[in-house]
Symmetry: none
Subunit: 143 residues, 2 copies
DNA sequence: ATAAAAAGGTGGTAAAAAGTGGTAAATAAT
DNA sequence: ATTATTTACCACTTTTTACCACCTTTTTAT
């Protein structure tokens, strides 16, 4: 279970370190790809396999499906942490998430999100203002 | 499973190299043909066989089907990589995809797309802007 | 409260791998 | 048969990756 909010930075080689608490679950490699809402998503290998297979089988004849495949599959990168717990964030992922230097790594239960700190702050502020509305709109989703 | 986004260039002989990560799956030859949305499609031999069979069985009585057959089957080229992992991109495929020098090679699950860098950037920017809409339209496709 | 030790994070360097340009050989065409 | 064009291989350069060492911050014990 991934929880917590961690503020890290990219160095000039676009490396960043993962929070120590997450490393055990990631030591056998993982996948980062584009998510929704301008953030990146981290998948463990086994979760990724199921998800990627489903995405890969979407029909070529549907435009949204093609775009979704490009978004998810071409965005994906397999990563192994180095001995100090760092990874390199490729250019296409930085561009998508608007990441320059300061990032936020957020544990969201069974997944991890990576944000540019700026975008994260905007999002969190927005959520704080309207958490009651958001909670209301969860009715019917089984919470 | 092909994933990732790679930016390569054609040299003056119209050669380009495939990403190292894709080469194992392509070493026994593959097929490039016209795709949808101004990009080229790369299929491994076995994937191509299934795809091409399905396309060639489309009904002769349907005009769109006939055009689709022309599009896919007449555009196809069988290719073998050289020892350094490169291939030559024929003129009719360059013309179709508007490819000059800078290309993007995108892993899309069981296939690979080749784009002119310029067209790719347009497409991926468009997708990023509307990623939540695209995600919504994936509801019901079993994701 | 202060000091020492440990853990986590950062910058740099060296080795390996991937990509690109060029050249030689082979094939095809005139 | 000679020339032009294409194909395959070789070598170099640039980029990437992995490891090492240091520095900073936090924690614990006296």
């Amino acid at each position: 279970m991934f929880i917590g909010e961690f503020h890290h930075t990219l160095d000039e080689k676009f490396r960043f370190s993962f929070p120590k608490k997450f490393r055990n679950d990631l030591e056998n490699g993982f996948v980062i790809t584009r998510g929704v809402d301008n953030c990146l998503l981290v998948y463990t290998n086994s979760e990724w396999e199921d998800f990627a297979n489903n995405v890969s089988m979407l029909p070529l004849t549907n435009k949204s499906a093609r775009d979704f495949q490009r978004h998810i599959l071409s965005g994906a990168v397999e990563i192994q942490l180095d001995k100090t717990g760092r990874a390199i964030l490729p250019e296409h992922l930085r561009n998508f998430a608007n990441i320059k230097k300061d990032i936020v790594i957020a544990g969201i239960g069974d997944k991890i999100e990576i944000w540019s700190e700026e975008e994260w702050m905007k999002r969190i502020t927005e959520i704080s203002k309207s958490s009651d509305n958001i909670a209301n709109s969860m009715e019917g989703l089984g919470i």
